[in-house]
Symmetry: C3
Subunit: 470 residues, 3 copies
Amino acid sequence: METMGADALPLTVNSSEKRESVCVFGTGDFGKSLGFKMLQCGYAVVFGSRNPQVSSLLPRGAEVLSYSEGASKSDVIILAMRREHYDCLAELADHLSGKILVDVSNNRKINQYPESNAEYLAQLVPGARVVKAFNTISAWALQSGTLDASRQVFVCGDDSKAKQRVMDIARTLGLTPLDQGSLVAAKEIENYPLKLFPMWRLPFYMSSVLCVFFFVYCVIREVIYPYVNGKTDSTFRLAVSIPNRVFPVTALTLLALVYLPGVLAAVLQLYRGTKYRRFPNWLDHWMLCRKQLGLVALGFAFLHAIYTLVIPIRYYVRWRLRNGTITQALANKDSPFSTSAAWISDSYLALGILGFFLFLLLGITSLPSVSNMVNWREFRFVQSKLGYLTLVLCTAHTLVYGGKRFLSPGILRWNLPSAYILALIIPCTVLVMKFILVLPCIDKTLTRIRQGWERNSQPSKSALNGKPDI
Amino acid sequence: METMGADALPLTVNSSEKRESVCVFGTGDFGKSLGFKMLQCGYAVVFGSRNPQVSSLLPRGAEVLSYSEGASKSDVIILAMRREHYDCLAELADHLSGKILVDVSNNRKINQYPESNAEYLAQLVPGARVVKAFNTISAWALQSGTLDASRQVFVCGDDSKAKQRVMDIARTLGLTPLDQGSLVAAKEIENYPLKLFPMWRLPFYMSSVLCVFFFVYCVIREVIYPYVNGKTDSTFRLAVSIPNRVFPVTALTLLALVYLPGVLAAVLQLYRGTKYRRFPNWLDHWMLCRKQLGLVALGFAFLHAIYTLVIPIRYYVRWRLRNGTITQALANKDSPFSTSAAWISDSYLALGILGFFLFLLLGITSLPSVSNMVNWREFRFVQSKLGYLTLVLCTAHTLVYGGKRFLSPGILRWNLPSAYILALIIPCTVLVMKFILVLPCIDKTLTRIRQGWERNSQPSKSALNGKPDI
Amino acid sequence: METMGADALPLTVNSSEKRESVCVFGTGDFGKSLGFKMLQCGYAVVFGSRNPQVSSLLPRGAEVLSYSEGASKSDVIILAMRREHYDCLAELADHLSGKILVDVSNNRKINQYPESNAEYLAQLVPGARVVKAFNTISAWALQSGTLDASRQVFVCGDDSKAKQRVMDIARTLGLTPLDQGSLVAAKEIENYPLKLFPMWRLPFYMSSVLCVFFFVYCVIREVIYPYVNGKTDSTFRLAVSIPNRVFPVTALTLLALVYLPGVLAAVLQLYRGTKYRRFPNWLDHWMLCRKQLGLVALGFAFLHAIYTLVIPIRYYVRWRLRNGTITQALANKDSPFSTSAAWISDSYLALGILGFFLFLLLGITSLPSVSNMVNWREFRFVQSKLGYLTLVLCTAHTLVYGGKRFLSPGILRWNLPSAYILALIIPCTVLVMKFILVLPCIDKTLTRIRQGWERNSQPSKSALNGKPDI
């Protein structure tokens, strides 16, 4: 997919015009890679080193000078060095005054220092214009030209012209600069590459808890219970049968948990009579990671689908089928065709397939490149209307699965109902609440609140203000 | 996935340089959200309000002034108000002269007013430079930082410098501005967020019609016919058996309809002897939504695949299998292995799987982020060569499915052939036409026409012109 | 998905300001399309033609002049003509001096001429500032507004201001300009649209060789051997049974080949004691197309999954099942349930499903739009940790598949073991080597080498240099 490798980008040698020059302090891996890339993209690159004569292995076409000499050659200086070595820059303060210093450093831990490296640098060299950038880019990716991971360069700084210069350089290197505001944002930018899927943490914990709970629950019902009651060895169920109960149950619960916060938020807004009060933090966080929650649910639904499709290949199933047929043949018994059993079996499957199909559609539209192509109305249509339809279909799939034996006392083991009955609690609650919320009388109030109306506001104010929300 | 939430973007407080300032007229939801976001991104934000003293709940750090005072503070004024309140701006014409007025308004219906809001505004305040922008962005998304739906900001205006200023602001807010030309484009931009999948409408109608037709057709053949002729209750077939006939038939027909317009266009070009005449409108529109048509077909093919894979789990199938075995066992009949039956069954399955696999590949390459990575030659290779191969495989899959009973009179019911025979009509037509079109003699003429040659043109002209198409 | 068709972009007619003007030389297809698009986006477009009076069919609003007149109207001239006609530009050298000449030409073959068209143009008209651009855009796509394939415009040139002007035009047309450096890059840019999946070539060859080899191998074992030894006709196995052996075996081998170069590189670095020596070219190339290799492996794994899921539908399998049951019923033999067989069958399936699921996740994260949203640490986590887990699961899946009959002499046919045993060689080798590499003592040395430490370097140097890599 990579269109042009590193080798494809030739050095600008015979350029008639004067090339823009950039200085890189530090000849470590990152400095070299960045310098090489900038050379390829037509910049004149000067390396600044404490010991210029021993610095080897630098890209062809680059000069190596001392720090002070290097600084004098360019007004953009990229500091490819660790924070621990910044103190030597204080001595160069005169040479660095007025220069654009680009801090590319990262730390080893989140919030390792009280202030961000870039702010620390700004204090050390007060005369310079410090810009934070490039810390999210990997040296290896720059070298090899395979920027499969993020091309995003978060840029921040207090001087907007300096920031603009650095963003132009990033753009020339084929990267995507994103302005993050003033230097105060540097802390967040430095923490960013140390994070590991922060938005996925809550969904991951939720699904782990659900998975473990339902797994233990099913093991008790289907492995321990038969062993205690009949000395039957059902351990082989651990591999496929029990996961194929845990996965759908977890998927359905998680899918309901995607729509629960929206319903809770609506109830809260109705209760408060205004939308201008912040939701509690936990609700806010929950709402922000609904997409991730939904994708985890989709993963479980997918596993459930495949686990179900392999059923006829399993030794246990084949054995039971064969033995059942033989027993029946030997007994010469007739098993008449039951239309209602066929209806239940088929509609159970059809509901599941359609629900899964819509769920997949939801997943595909949440791909960044797809969701970026739709307008707001289309996005809401898919994520809200189609989403609720998916929840309805999947809940119906589970209800029909229960069929006639639903809540019949025969399936209780140690008074524990089947896992799928537990799985229905949250989805049914969400659907009932949603149904109440879309009743015309309640929906009308909610819509008014969401358009800015407040139950307890002074009537004068909104009349005076005269600008309804748009 | 969201890298930095709203909270991560600190206010620029200690900035040494003078910050650029923006004025927002109107303190509704959208105005507040946009103002807050701009504050975060380092702008000085001034709100203009009819009643500055009663406007509350505004973001910290923002000033609230009267309209005229606000206007004097900045040369960019964002009008976060409804079109219905624009008339009050006419009184402020003196204060607004020379300013950049950003119209962010939307309407409630497509083409609600004879002229676009932005053009109306330009007439009201002739001295101002009106730019249309930001109307596709949702207030809620700006607030929460989850711009999962479009980050695209369509911008238009008659003054290119003003447009550039607004596009810079959009870029700073992390959005993607797209220049749409002069202010005449505002109408289209205002209609855009009101549209619901415009390119999907034709494919949706086509597939609905096909689906309903084939569903009724199959119900007649497989539910009503056995009921009338033998009083058999086959209603349970409505859930799985009949959908699993309707879906593949619809999928194959839609896939053929993806390639039919291309073939028709080629025939039309051959007939006319030139490519410089426009196709009829219906053909144009059909060609533009081929991608959507193909994706709908893929959806049906996917449903067909899963419906087929669950076959062995169905009660009806298991019952029939068991009964068949028992009958045979009791009769002590031998059923010899038929190599030709095995060949037909296996090649039918293999063709279907390979066709579906290629179809999925086509679907994946039509994802915006994937198709954006390939060059034009690669895109044509995938969508044309692989596309036709898919059509050939899926048609062959259907033909082999028919196997020996193809067109045998025994399968006619009330003189209606099986649905899959109807499904073969369009694909076979397309393949035969395509086969004729790629015959060397015809292909040569077509290629010449597509390179700009015209059958009836004066021979002098192209010789004089001397610039072949590239 | 296309937001606004060509018709939506109105001409800028009543613009008060002076529009920027662009001249297009050549009235072929591409020239017309580009000119029309620029008119729509608000440029004043002048066509230059050798015979202005006979050039017809040009977009409304455009002027047609002679070359020299056209050139005098604008300082940006787009040369929509073939390289073969460039010589006529030499005569116009005076009129073109100082102008920005945009070379949009493509060739018919890779490296058709010794120098790139753009460099040839720069020699012909030394006074002009030549910029290469737009050659990757298709005329048809510009006309129809469906830029589904690449919107990327590679731009190169020796004059950075001229390059900037052209990049601005590209941006205004809704395209994505990418600066590729000086005019030397033109050769690469001209070759780009002629390439057909260059990064996929090695994976394609590797998988073809593996596929053909294993196919022939399986045909010998499963079709020719039974025919020679027992005159049994097993040809029907060619359609499903044998592909379903070839696909998983190829998928597993390819997946192992994704991780083999990383392991080899680590061994090489350990052996050399430095990371500052280039890998051999074959290893470099192999490492760069690992993603493509993995995606091809995923394709085969997907086919294996579906081929496995259709097993119970196959005539052969149903026939065998029925016959087995009948034989058993007639013999009145009991087949006791074997817990160990159930365990092997179920864990084999579970391992396969989980491996396939993780493999799919890897594939999804390699979608450009997804991988662009994750940071470097997350990308490495997914591609390395999850990748190895996938390899472990898939290898275990194959090992358990063998079960007890693994290497038992009974399954040798003509001394050939089953194909899956061959498939285990490379994965097991990779896993053993990786296991050795992550042993603490070896991992420590490797980490130090990767941080820039060199075994044979002068100790003084790194001490003096004092800048560890970051």
